[in-house]
């Protein structure tokens, strides 16, 4: 590997859709960067905001949450809870002085191996561009800048 910054990413994948989508990317031998470590939950609705912050506190540079498409949730509407929480998580991240672009929500079905590979590739590059999280090394000014500079990107990052 080259000297470029390799972001460390955590991906919470729901067991029914996105985890299987990631499996399909594998069985289809699609290639994507090795930066993201998947963690399986039954539903994306299980992902607690504390999980996100725990990941950042442990040194993650970005966190992906992936669940079933709206209407496809194995638990009827668990993913709607995720969708509801996600903008709040972004807001909180911003208030903490972190770039909201460090978390990403995606709907990946069990048939979308290609989408999973694409999302991980894109997200790796996006977080690479943001640079290391540097949780402990930022000055208050830097934190304020980080929150502000990327707040414009919040809207586009939330899937419709």
């Amino acid at each position: 590997m080259s000297d470029q910054f390799e972001p460390r990413l955590i991906g919470f994948l729901c067991r029914w859709c996105s985890y299987n989508g990631a499996d399909l990317a594998g069985t289809s031998r699609m290639k994507y960067p090795p930066n993201l470590v998947p963690i399986k939950t039954n539903c994306s609705g299980r992902v607690d905001p504390t999980h996100i912050f725990k990941a950042f506190a442990e040194g993650a540079d970005g966190v992906l949450i992936a669940g079933c498409h709206p209407g496809d949730c194995h638990y009827i509407n668990g993913n709607y809870r995720t969708a509801g929480r996600f903008p709040l998580m972004k807001k909180m991240l911003e208030q903490l002085g972190l770039e909201p672009g460090r978390i990403r929500l995606e709907w990946v079905s069990a048939a979308e191996g290609d989408k999973f590979a694409r999302v991980v590739t894109e997200f790796t590059e996006e977080v690479r561009a943001l640079g290391p999280l540097g949780w402990n090394t930022r000055t208050p000014e830097e934190q304020a800048d980080a929150g502000q500079a990327s707040s414009d990107r919040v809207e586009e990052a939330v899937p419709a």
Binding site: N20, A22, K31, I39, R46, H74
Partner: protein, 657 residues
């Protein structure tokens, strides 16, 4: 926490993992991790000797936790958890680290893959000391089965289950079972008459005491879980009492609305508003079309059907009825739709006369069809030449990329039938590749090559009525490049048959959502595993069969229906089934009774106990999504197997490397 002894097992999976990930290095690394007592690697962990390694270590090294770094848990978690249980370890003390699908297969660089494998494995090593022994929850199984869709797949599955003595609810949307197969004339390659082989099965299903036929009905809602589904079915009003009606057909003769396009003949004939879809219908009962009947559309009618009906079965006041049925397993066999060739404008379907879809031709060549089985053009004359165009809406990036598998063979069958009816007729087959992959199929193709059929290798470019010569004048002309001769040809013909591909039902996505499984990228229902579990879905207890899963011929459909029936039977033939214990619980000592979780639970599995002032999880209703866990501000609800501290530990482990 007491010192745990973890066994780590890194699988080579032949070269699937070891070809990319340095399994020796991962094993060496794992051996140094906290709590790890044994770390091994093996060529195929899922083999018997591989599984025995875990069992031996439980006995000889006293390991108290185990992690298998191998394929996806979807593939082999049950295998290894069973091995752990056989060795005397609670199965939920074994975790899998997916270093194949999520690592070796998707990573280009070997070193990067090895590093990622460590992170994936590290997450599980960190988590394991926090795993608790869990016991599967044993739930009773309702022995009844529902089959949705009354085509050949549904009929076959229902009959098999009924033979095994199971009560089957057979739900069919249309007034009669039979599906597409009932429309076919002959079946390839044996040329059995479709009706001759299907109607006995339809009739058997109608008479079978174990089958409760819910024709002209649709599933509206599915609740519950494996072994215990509650299904709501809307029985659409037929405006005919099904028990009183004898299927004599006098109402259809008396009905004054006579020009309704007959769906069964693909609109090539007309039916009355009071109708029986086809003479062999099961149940053989009349239905009154509420969109066309004068009385039901609020217009004036002398209601001659009422007078004609001897037993007085007609009831204009009948309403849709919703019933709830409890079953242990469900087989979804909702079939396909023929791809509608209208968007392929260059073939002029729906614009020029005598350009037919394949199902329309099935009806025309069928003795019970609109022409009595005589192959005739719209003007009543037999065609002198017919072109059959393959791959319409199939193998076409503009429409459907996939091969529909059956079109080559039915096209060959059409050519044979035309030659049989009209030996002087010229028949052209315009194909891309001839795909005759089934038993007896290649032989059938060979036979057709000796029946004076013209095979032209090339996808047709256009169907036009603009003639350029006296032989083309007033006829249809097919423009096609013969790629074997390297020339463009114009074929003057009198009839064009478009061999359309098979498409998913237009409401397949909604149906899949109703039953709780997904669709593949091509729109057909997604099976749990394409090879090893082709009739299972992600939802335990719900199976799929037939063309709703992917286009297939009748033999494959029947085989799959049998497989789905066997899958359902293997479930409902047991008094109980184990479900995953990964459900939520609420500590009443900590709950403040704020109600947040009560309203969020998708399954209404949390109720508020007024007396104690706390929320309580109804164990039997909880499905383990964990939404309540994430929602509680105090973190009171917890989900077994996915405790916050377990997820935290995974995060730590994944980022510690």
């Amino acid at each position: 926490m007491a010192q745990e002894k973890i066994g780590v097992y890194v699988c080579h999976c032949g070269t699937n993992i070891a070809g990319k990930v340095d399994v020796e290095e991962v094993t060496r690394w794992a051996a140094e991790q906290p709590n790890v007592a044994v770390a091994r690697n093996y060529k195929y962990m899922c083999s018997d000797p591989g599984q025995d390694l875990i069992k031996q270590d439980i006995k000889e090294h006293g390991i108290t936790r185990a992690v298998v770094a191998a394929c996806s848990p979807t593939m082999h978690e049950p295998t290894f958890r069973k091995a752990a249980a056989d060795g005397g370890l609670n199965p939920y003390l074994l975790q899998m680290a997916n270093i194949r699908e999520h690592c070796s297969w998707v990573t280009v660089d070997g070193e990067a893959a090895t590093a990622k494998a460590k992170r994936i494995l590290g997450a599980q090593i960190h988590r394991l000391p926090l795993n608790e022994p869990l016991d599967p929850i044993e739930v009773p199984v309702n022995p009844n089965v529902m089959v949705v869709g009354g085509g050949i797949a549904g009929i076959e599955a229902a009959l098999k289950l009924a033979q095994a003595g199971k009560k089957v609810y057979l739900v069919e949307r249309d007034p009669s079972i039979g599906g597409h197969m009932a429309m076919f004339d002959k079946t390839f390659p044996t040329l059995d008459c479709a009706a001759c082989i299907l109607t006995p099965k339809m009739s058997a299903a109608g008479k079978e005491p174990h089958i409760e036929m819910l024709a002209y009905s649709e599933v509206t809602e599915v609740e519950g879980y494996v072994g215990n589904f509650k299904v709501k079915v809307r029985k659409k009003a037929r405006y005919v009492d099904i028990d009183t009606c004898t299927g004599c057909g006098l109402c259809t003769e008396a009905c004054v609305v006579r020009k309704v396009p007959n769906e069964f003949d693909r609109g090539l004939s007309k039916r009355a508003a009071a109708y029986i879809p086809f003479p062999q219908a099961v149940p053989l009962r009349a239905t009154i079309d509420p969109t066309r009947c004068l009385t039901l559309t609020g217009k004036k009618c002398k209601q001659p059907c009422l007078t004609a009906c001897g037993p007085g079965a007609i009831d204009f006041d009948q309403k849709d009825e919703e019933i709830e049925v409890e079953v242990g397993a469900i087989i979804v066999a909702t079939g396909f739709e023929l791809w509608d060739p209208t968007p392929e404008k260059r073939y002029s379907y729906g614009k020029l006369d005598n350009v037919l879809s394949s199902l329309e031709f099935e009806r025309i060549s069928n003795a019970s069809g609109p022409t009595g089985g005589h192959i005739l053009c719209k003007n009543g004359e037999p065609p002198k030449a017919v072109a059959i165009l393959h791959c319409v809406g199939s193998r076409d990036e503009n429409y459907q990329e996939f091969c529909s598998r059956v079109c080559c063979m039915y096209s060959l069958k059409f050519a044979h039938l035309i030659k049989e009816h009209l030996p002087e007729c010229e028949v052209y087959e315009c194909y891309i590749d001839m795909r005759t992959y089934g038993k007896g199929y290649e032989e059938f193709y060979k036979r057709l090559m000796n029946e004076d059929v013209h095979f032209i290798r090339g996808r047709a470019a256009e169907v036009t009525d603009v003639g350029l010569s006296p032989t083309e004048e007033g006829r249809l002309v097919v423009k096609v490049e013969d790629t074997l001769l390297g020339i463009t040809r114009r074929l003057p013909v009198d009839m064009v048959i478009l061999s359309s591909g098979l498409a998913p039902r237009s409401d397949a996505k909604e149906t899949a959502q109703t039953f709780g499984f997904g669709c593949s990228a091509n729109g057909f229902y997604l099976e749990r595993h394409p090879k090893l579990e082709p009739v299972s879905t992600v939802t335990d207890g719900i199976f799929i069969a037939g063309c709703c899963q992917y286009p297939k011929d009748i033999p494959d459909t029947v085989a799959q229906a049998g497989a789905a029936a066997a899958g359902a039977l293997a479930l409902v033939d047991n008094p109980t089934v184990n479900v995953e214990p990964t459900i939520s619980y609420i500590d009443p000592e900590k709950c403040s009774g704020c109600h947040i979780c009560v309203g969020l639970c998708p399954h209404a599995a949390i109720q508020y106990n007024e007396e104690k002032g706390v929320a309580e999880v109804i164990t039997a209703a909880c499905k383990g999504c964990g939404v309540c866990v994430a929602a509680c501000a105090s973190g009171v609800p917890q989900q077994r197997g996915y405790l916050d501290e377990q997820i935290f530990a995974e995060i730590e482990g994944a980022l510690a490397v």
